[in-house]
Amino acid sequence: MTTLTDPPKATFRLSMLLYDTRYRSTTIQIIVLIAFMLGAAWLLNNVRVNLALAGKDFNFGFLQQVSNFDIGQRLIEYSSTSTYGRATIIGLLNTLLIAVMGCFAATVVGVAVGILRLSPNWVISRLMAVYVEMFRNVPILLWILLIMGVLSESLPQPKDFRGENPTASMSMFDSVAVTNRGIYIPEPLFSKGLGDIPVFWNSFEISLDLMAILAVLFAGLLIGKLIKTRAMQIQAATGVLPKTGLIRLALVVIPVLLVLWILGFHLGYPALKGFNFQGGTRLGNPLLALWIALSLYTAAFIAEIVRAGIMAISKGQSEAASALGLRPNKIMNLVILPQAMRVIIPPLISQYLNLTKNSSLAVAVGYADITSTLGNTTLNQTGRELEAILLLMGCYLAISLIVSTVMNAYNERTKLRER
């Protein structure tokens, strides 16, 4: 009698792929992957077959064709003799403009509302609750249309400013005109300007005046920071903090004013000429309506995020700070908010992304964002549906990924370091 048995033979049967727990999950994954790839291949084939049947090809050559249409709202030079590609860039810049303006305003309003909603003052906290609930629970498109309607119906027309007894007049010492087409504000002009330099093969120009001002401003801020560091060192060594506030302010303000004076800075005021106000910078109503609606709508969500963030900080923190003798606003700024930011930032990222994507509703009020220039007019005039929509999706995807990368980097910096 022997206890020796044969070692198990390494046989492999096909059924083991399904019944052997060592292989099962891999098998399932491979099957799912194959199914996914077949599905994708079918979609692609469908597109290819149908494009061929419709006699269409797939190329982006149309971007180099002359567009033949005009765009009112533009940040860089554009005319109807420019290409569709340039119209797309104009739209992209307009989308970025509204996204940046919207995110900024929404954050400011949202943080304020979120904090005020926690105010011990009953009236203020209730009012903020009403605001948040109203904006959160009504679709954004309705808000955009409502605000656009209010702006274009209730504000005076340019012709109301005309005549012997005008029914409307300019505000702020005749420098700002509020009309139902937009708000005209004075524009900065330079009588001894340095001119512009074309960049990127003449595709757009950078103002040297602006560059000069920014350079001086940053230099002032940098030196100010050095002085501040030095002051901190003196405080660390002697215990006395030298007063540097005035010097630092002067360092920022005086050189900038000097540069403005050298460049011959003056303001160009809007004036009624012909059909519209001419001169000055125009903030068109579509832009304003979209900006106000997007900011207020997103701010309602941000307010809730901020409130949640603040409430996540234990009460002991504010009680301790209070016991140390800090005043309420210092408690908020120095103790509560820095800790709350760690809770606030991740959901804030998705609100920024939402705002950017919601800006595609611009088409409802005639703001020339990328959905309007590329997805609407260009698509319609060229008939390149597939290319235009894919490009549009690519643009939004790129913007969203960039925003979330930047915000994630910021999140990494502010999140709690665990050691």
Binding site: L38, W42, N45, N46, V49, N50, L53, A54, G55, K56, N68, F69, D70, I71, G72, S79, S80, T81, S152, E153, Q157, K159, N180, R181, K273, G274, F275, N276, Q278, N285, P286, V363, A364, G366, A368, S372, N376, T377, L379, N380, Q381, T382, G383, E385
Partner: protein, 338 residues
């Protein structure tokens, strides 16, 4: 085994997706309804009345085609399309005919792969402006804010006109005609521009039409007509000759009043061929002999349709002008039924 069924199904699915483009006549007959793309609401051309029944100049073309093909001018499914969605809807087969005051251009005909079957309205782009502005010519519009429908040929003509004349403007592109109207009436734009016929229709719908004028300049040629997909020529022929039948009917004085009498037979062979008492025109088109008779009975001949929907007795009040028959100094002309 299962896998081969799956792949088989895949092949069938991708094939059927492709075939849908051909055989529109059979599709329409099988469906029992004609899908017709029309404007989202332009009084006189295509708009639903108080009972939700679609009526208008473009609608009449759809009804005539339905009457010719299906024998019933109410067997039409009207699909309201914006200027942006219209071509996609036609190309994808969502509609069989697009009769939505669409301008015949080379790129739409050739690059977008459509067939314009004819012209039912010779139009041109104009400007609507409040009388109180005191403007008498489009050349005085320097610096004006202009409301336009985005994605139309009018947007391109506008850019060309202002560039050629060296004057500037501020475009406000909006999605549809009703939005443009609202902005115009609120004074958010100085002038509204689109095809002259649509301006007349828009003005007619205003509370005080007399406070607004259409400027004399016509800045473009806008031949409007029904269109079908490229590649199904049999279907294109049917829509083309339905339109021609309506035009010929006016030319030969076939009206909805005397058509029954004329269809008993006349001594004019052309009338007989149109009405199917002579020859086999219907058979050639894949229809029966009475197709044109039914089309004409649907809403009357070309002239009757014009007068009933947009003519001088209607609030829109358009005169025939270029849209009179060639025999009366206009451009409306049908090739012979022979």
């Amino acid at each position: 085994m299962k896998k081969s069924v799956f792949i088989g199904a895949l092949t069938v699915a991708s094939l059927t997706a492709g075939i849908a483009a051909a055989g529109t006549l059979d599709d329409v007959k099988a469906r029992g309804k004609l899908n017709c793309g029309v404007s989202t609401g332009l009084v006189g051309f295509a708009s639903p009345d108080a009972n939700g029944k679609w009526e208008g100049y473009d609608v009449a073309i759809c009804r005539a085609v339905a009457a010719a093909v299906l024998g019933d001018n109410t067997a039409v499914e009207f699909v309201p399309l914006s200027s942006k969605t219209r071509f996609t809807a036609l190309a994808s087969g969502e509609v069989d005919v697009l009769a939505r005051n669409t301008t015949w251009t080379l790129s739409r005909d050739v690059d977008l792969k459509f067939d314009f079957v004819g012209v039912n309205y010779y139009d041109g782009q104009g400007f609507l402006i409040p009388k109180s502005m005191g403007v008498t010519s489009a050349k005085e519009l320097d610096g004006a804010t202009v409301c336009i429908q985005s994605g139309t040929t009018t947007e391109l003509n506008l850019a060309d006109y202002f560039r050629v004349n060296g004057i500037s403007y501020e475009p406000v592109p909006v999605e549809g005609n009703s939005e443009a109207q609202k902005l115009y009436l609120a004074g958010a734009c100085d002038t509204l521009t689109t095809d002259g016929s649509a301006l007349a229709a828009t003005r007619a719908a205003f509370e005080k039409p007399d406070d607004h004028i259409v400027l004399p300049e016509i800045i473009s040629k806008e031949p409007l007509g029904p269109l079908v997909r490229h590649g199904d020529n049999e279907w294109g022929d049917i829509v083309r000759w339905t339109l021609n039948a309506l035009i010929s009917a006016e030319e030969y004085d076939i009206t909805s009043a005397n058509i029954e009498e004329l269809s008993k037979g006349t001594n004019n062979p052309e009338i007989n061929r149109i009405l199917g008492t002579e020859g086999n025109m219907g058979e050639m088109l894949g229809l029966d002999a009475d197709w044109a008779k039914r089309a004409i009975m649907s809403g009357g001949n070309f002239g009757e349709i014009f007068e009933a929907n947009i003519g001088e007795k209607t609030p829109i009040g358009l005169s025939r002008g270029l849209n009179a028959l060639w025999t009366e100094g206009g451009l409306i002309y049908s090739p012979p039924f022979r």
